[in-house]
Symmetry: C2
Subunit: 347 residues, 2 copies
């Protein structure tokens, strides 16, 4: 018996939206009907799906009628508005914004880490922040064996995290500098070409930016423990679409790098990239377009008897956003957690 | 009574060499005679100094005759060879290579941190590695008040650290990518344009690269204590000439961010860049060409009761290399630690 679902992508024309479309096609998600939704401004365009040109419709109340599953990738406030509409009409929403992530009624899911959490959904499942997804995929397999006590992480985040316009702006800025012209920053707060800056999300009273607090709070929620102490420094770098992270882990007792390597070599969603002879480790250009989080430079921390150092790169748009959302959708299908219209069940 | 010195720059045509020349002019170093030395390949060029065109001479034994001070910026093995010659002929060498840094007979000096160490020189003073200089300038003022127990640092290192050719290569690679061509890596081990990679210096048995071990060992030597535990992750990023560092510090007892801020606001060589309202903190493009290490985002570490987070940017060629060397030279002059030929003493 096969089931097919009526799916809508909200924010279909964005960087994550177009990736969602591509992944649904390539992973052959069981689709009965696909709706592409976007703001008035972006509606009217067409996007290819399985050889067909699909029209992007403007988002509206009616657009969510006869939809089983919504993959939403829009800003937080837009997401809030339309998620309410979609769930009221009976759809399940997998939301990529930060709007619901810390809501205790909403599961926050990384399929490699806490797939069971999805079962408790009440219509909404939140997709974590990109930096959190990448870190949890790499750290969870170790945490399962020996609980992590503390994480000190520094990120190297690509322009894609700020959207398709930011990616284009970095290129324009770079071109300007190479031509001897000053770089113009309109989408990004400062020039990013040949430069970098601390992540510019709003700062809290302690001086941590939102992006950093996402890594702290979301990781704890996904791991199901408030005990892990986490500090983060998030930095935007002139890379196009893969994020990197330098992660320092502290355990209660020593964790050998060999053991960590063995574990990560067989962990879902992780690919070890460690060629010590050629000094070849994860790099953003090699993580781009890949499903896996590339992990390498697993080192015993020489500054702490129970410390471990990790280095990772992961495609921000793919595993950091769209792929994780599609994997959640696949999980819902697999675990029968998605209602389906009888018309779309074939025996 | 004024004293003037016969100075030679070894490696005068390199990125650091040309910066040394500029700094000697702008800081009005008391020069009686200036020799520009380079390899056979680079000799014959002329460089401007105080309006005059100076010929770059090929380095030779004879070139070090009648020289009081050598500012050496060449590779480790070249430095070793010529430092032996220069010191034998009576000159004091301030060496920018890693050749002598960990030699217990050679002082390793950051003038803002351990100026007194210079007094013990026996003809050679080592200039620390760029990342070490920047970190020690920012951390020392705090360490003086309350000893640092542990440092976890992640670096964001510019192309300039790999030399002038690497800087040019990043631009060429970037141009190629913008034109839709593949980037070519000849000087750098991998494409750096729109990419980044772990520092490619040789790895030790524990998986730490040389650059990281320089931060560990040199910092301990400069601070005069083996007690500080340090771990580092060094990363090359597509920035042209300023390095950035995310530094996590652990003290024995709590160190408030306000106190740290007050101290760093009056520390030599440090400039606080902390505009919390506008989310404006140190950036490589604003550190480029500056003497000071820009420090900001001083935060209480939420993951450790005695932790503190810092973010800094500093010009790798300037304070990270040439400026520190010239400051050491100025220190030698000021403390009368440099022999001078009687002919060049004016009353």
């Amino acid at each position: 018996m096969s089931k097919f679902y009526r799916v809508a992508i909200l924010g279909a024309t964005g960087a994550v939206g177009t990736e969602l479309l591509e992944l649904l096609e390539h992973r052959n998600f069981p689709i009965a009907d696909l709706k592409l939704l976007a703001s008035e401004r972006s509606a009217g365009r067409t996007l290819k799906f399985k050889g067909e040109n699909l029209l992007v419709e403007p988002v509206s109340d009616r657009a969510f009628e006869n939809v089983d599953l919504v993959l939403a990738s829009a800003g937080g406030s837009t997401s809030k508005t339309w998620t309410a509409v979609a769930t009221q009409k009976g759809a399940v929403v997998i939301d990529n914004s930060s709007a619901f992530r810390m809501n205790p009624e909403v599961p926050l899911v990384v399929p490699e880490v806490n797939p069971l959490a999805a079962a408790n959904h009440q219509g909404i499942i939140a997709n974590p922040n990109c930096t959190t997804i990448l870190m949890t995929v790499a750290v969870w397999p170790l945490h399962k064996v020996k609980p992590v006590q503390r994480i000190v992480v520094s990120t190297y985040q690509s322009a894609s995290g700020a959207g398709a316009k930011a990616m284009a702006e970095v290129k324009t800025q770079t071109n300007a500098i190479l031509q001897g012209q000053p770089p113009v920053a309109e989408v990004l707060p400062y020039p990013l070409a040949f430069n970098l800056f601390p992540h510019n999300s709003p700062l809290n009273d302690l001086g941590y930016c939102e992006e950093e607090m996402k890594m702290v709070n979301e990781t704890r929620k996904i791991f199901g423990t408030q005990k892990i102490r986490i500090t983060a420094t998030c930095v935007r770098v002139p890379v196009l679409r893969a994020h990197s992270e330098a992660i320092n882990l502290e355990f209660e007792s020593p964790f050998s790098s060999d053991e960590a390597r063995k574990i990560l070599n067989h962990s879902p969603g992780v690919k070890l990239v460690e060629n010590w002879e050629n000094n070849h480790f994860p790099m953003p250009i090699e993580a781009t377009g890949k499903d896996e989080v590339l992990v390498g430079r697993i080192r015993q921390d020489i500054s702490h008897p129970c410390g471990l150092e990790l280095w990772l790169c992961g495609d921000q748009i793919r595993k950091g956003a769209a792929l994780n959302a599609v994997q959640i959708a696949e999980l819902l299908v697999e675990k029968n957690l998605l209602k389906v219209n009888k018309a779309y069940v074939s025996s």
